[in-house]
Symmetry: D3
Subunit: 63 residues, 6 copies
Amino acid sequence: MPIAQINMMEGRSNEQKEALIEAVTAAIVQALDAPPESVRILINEMPKQHFGIAGQSAQKLGR
Amino acid sequence: MPIAQINMMEGRSNEQKEALIEAVTAAIVQALDAPPESVRILINEMPKQHFGIAGQSAQKLGR
Amino acid sequence: MPIAQINMMEGRSNEQKEALIEAVTAAIVQALDAPPESVRILINEMPKQHFGIAGQSAQKLGR
Amino acid sequence: MPIAQINMMEGRSNEQKEALIEAVTAAIVQALDAPPESVRILINEMPKQHFGIAGQSAQKLGR
Amino acid sequence: MPIAQINMMEGRSNEQKEALIEAVTAAIVQALDAPPESVRILINEMPKQHFGIAGQSAQKLGR
Amino acid sequence: MPIAQINMMEGRSNEQKEALIEAVTAAIVQALDAPPESVRILINEMPKQHFGIAGQSAQKLGR
């Protein structure tokens, strides 16, 4: 049943997202000895204006 | 105060979303004996590339 | 794949939680025409000190 | 490490989002005596059809 | 409707949590011009073993 | 900045949680080419009564 929600900045390619799903699933399976078919991954993309670090957006910080 | 966040694949109509909000709210009210006005529903839609099952995206799995 | 996370105040019985899972799953299945086995429910219980309404905790508000 | 995820209706300007990040970070720093650089803010915008109050969407309620 | 979920390390007093709810609500009200009674705060406390930074838990890092 | 929240059933040892943080962080770093120090992992443990599959709790299903 492990369900992982990953929040990240927008801008990654579909290939990177596919690689992310595959790699994080494998990591969970290995660390928890969980069956792969029980693992769910949810990716949440965010624009730079929506992510704040130390009081400023990533947009304003130029990241 | 029950607050339910529902993650689902994108592509549903506004009518389906309205029905979802109504039905889930009623279910919570009934099961918990909570006042309807205290219930909040948040719908989060996701593209198929962002949902992983058993290590592959729903897009790649053809779902 | 619908995954619903329900945040609620602690204090409900296991029977109420079981009823909640059953009723919310049925509501999602009906509204979205989703297969029941694809639905996941996550319940997150919170103490009254951890839920704020209009700037005060439910504990302080006497709810 | 405090990480705050703020769900809100879409339609705010970038200036409002920047002010939100700044003000909520300052509030967390003050209340918890946490170092500013450890605070992360995630903003999640939602269309009115995706937010339900008392069984109806904000769209249908005309909010 | 703004709903903020704050994840933080366990160990804060009820007074600090009450101050957190009050300060974050005021910050949201000010930045978004939202009515105070529409704001909800959810606090999620985590043990040090459950928070990872750069690949290690806060427990292991001695934070 | 990737922030991953992992929901899982309670009962894992601290060693498994440490391995989970390490493995998922490495997976994210590799797939997204993100600096390790920017990755945060939040583990959320749930009792079996709080996780629903196909309308029944994991407790009731005997999992």
